[in-house]
């Protein structure tokens, strides 16, 4: 039986990095076959960058990644909503892994259920 490495990445670790460095780090780790749980996740621009960079990495033995996080709170809401709700638009817990090993079973706005398999 082969093992799977699960990394719980603190916000403290990721927030020290710049956007590109962060995305690079995540892709490199995932390519090693790790499953990563990010305490705070990425911001929308970083997510877009992650998708873009993942696409450049796809080849015959790497099909990309599975990534799941929760929808952000209503940052598109009213002016007063934004003013009084401090965590509006804040980043959320995120799980990322290789597409061939991490499968999302179920997801709604309060629960992410995944299946992790060995290669």
């Amino acid at each position: 039986m082969s093992d799977i490495q699960l990394d719980l990445v603190s916000d403290a670790k990721l927030s020290r990095m710049g956007s590109t460095e962060k995305v690079r780090y995540i892709i490199d780790e995932v390519r090693k076959g790790k499953i990563m749980v990010l305490e705070k996740g990425l911001d929308p621009m970083e997510e877009a960058k992650l998708i873009e960079m993942t696409m450049t990495e796809i080849e015959e033995d790497f099909f990309g990644l599975e990534i799941e996080s929760y929808p952000r709170d209503d940052s598109g809401g009213t002016f007063f909503g934004k003013l009084f709700k401090k965590d509006a638009g804040q980043q959320k817990l995120t799980v990322i892994g290789p597409a061939n090993q991490l499968k999302t079973l179920r997801k709604d706005n309060s629960l992410i259920s995944t299946l992790v398999s060995t290669k």
């Binding site: 911001d43 929308p44 621009m45 997510e47 877009a48 960058k49 992650l50 998708i51 873009e52 993942t54 696409m55 450049t56 796809i58 015959e60 099909f63 990309g64 990644l65 599975e66 990534i67 799941e68 996080s69 929760y70 929808p71 952000r72 209503d74 940052s75 598109g76 809401g77 638009g89 597409a99 061939n100 997801k107 709604d108 706005n109």
Partner: protein, 210 residues
């Protein structure tokens, strides 16, 4: 006419010159091209206008296609938009999926390669748009990263967004689930295939992007 409204008029005209450019986004197979083709058919008299190809196999659109100067009219108001049909966004592309659809290995790998380039083009387009129509398949779970990412990017850029639950003609569709998932944004359920609710869709377009 007061000075202020004259002023407004002047700037209004100045800014109206450039068409707003609206991207149609969503996961592969959501029906983006079917919708884009319908919009073009409804508002372009020009028979020669090219339409995008539609397929049940994912990543059919692998190059963004821009439709210029569509004059959309709804309830007396008229707006002129450019519409960009983008390749479906994904975080993974496995060529085996195309082989399962009956394509040969070589063709599948080629489609996969082009699909990755298509996704990159879609992401790049996010920087050049004035708004987004986010199309979701109402028979699928709306809580996907792709949806969260597109919405997040529009919110961060403070650009208007219209969420479309497509395929409501299918009995297993659940447009309400999409509305509940993203309650903070305007939403409409349609069938791009049979044209259900298109009137209301154009009304929403005029309201959101006009």
């Amino acid at each position: 006419m007061g000075v202020i409204s004259q002023f407004r008029n002047f700037f209004g005209k100045l800014f109206k010159k450039k068409n707003a450019c609206i991207g149609i986004y969503g996961p592969p197979n959501a029906g983006k091209t079917t919708l884009a083709n319908r919009i073009v058919k409804d508002w372009k008299d020009d028979e020669s206008e090219p339409v995008g190809s539609v397929s049940h196999i994912a990543h059919e659109t692998r190059k963004a296609q821009r439709h210029h100067k569509l004059e959309i009219e709804s309830k007396g108001s008229k707006i002129c938009l450019d519409i960009v049909d983008t390749p479906g966004l994904a975080t993974k592309i496995d060529f085996h999926d195309f082989m399962k659809e009956g394509m040969g290995e070589k063709e599948s790998k080629q489609r996969s390669k082009e699909a990755t380039e298509g996704v990159i083009e879609s992401v790049k387009w996010l920087d050049d748009l004035d708004g987004v129509i986010l199309v979701m398949d109402a028979t699928e779970n709306p809580y996907t990263q792709v949806n969260v990412t597109v919405i997040g990017n529009m919110e961060a850029r403070k650009l208007p967004l219209l969420i479309v639950a497509n395929k409501i003609d299918l009995p297993e569709s659940d447009p309400e689930a999409i509305k509940e998932a993203f309650p903070q944004h305007p939403f409409i359920g349609i069938s791009a295939l049979d044209g259900t609710n298109m009137e209301t869709f154009y009304e929403a377009i005029a309201k959101q992007f006009g």
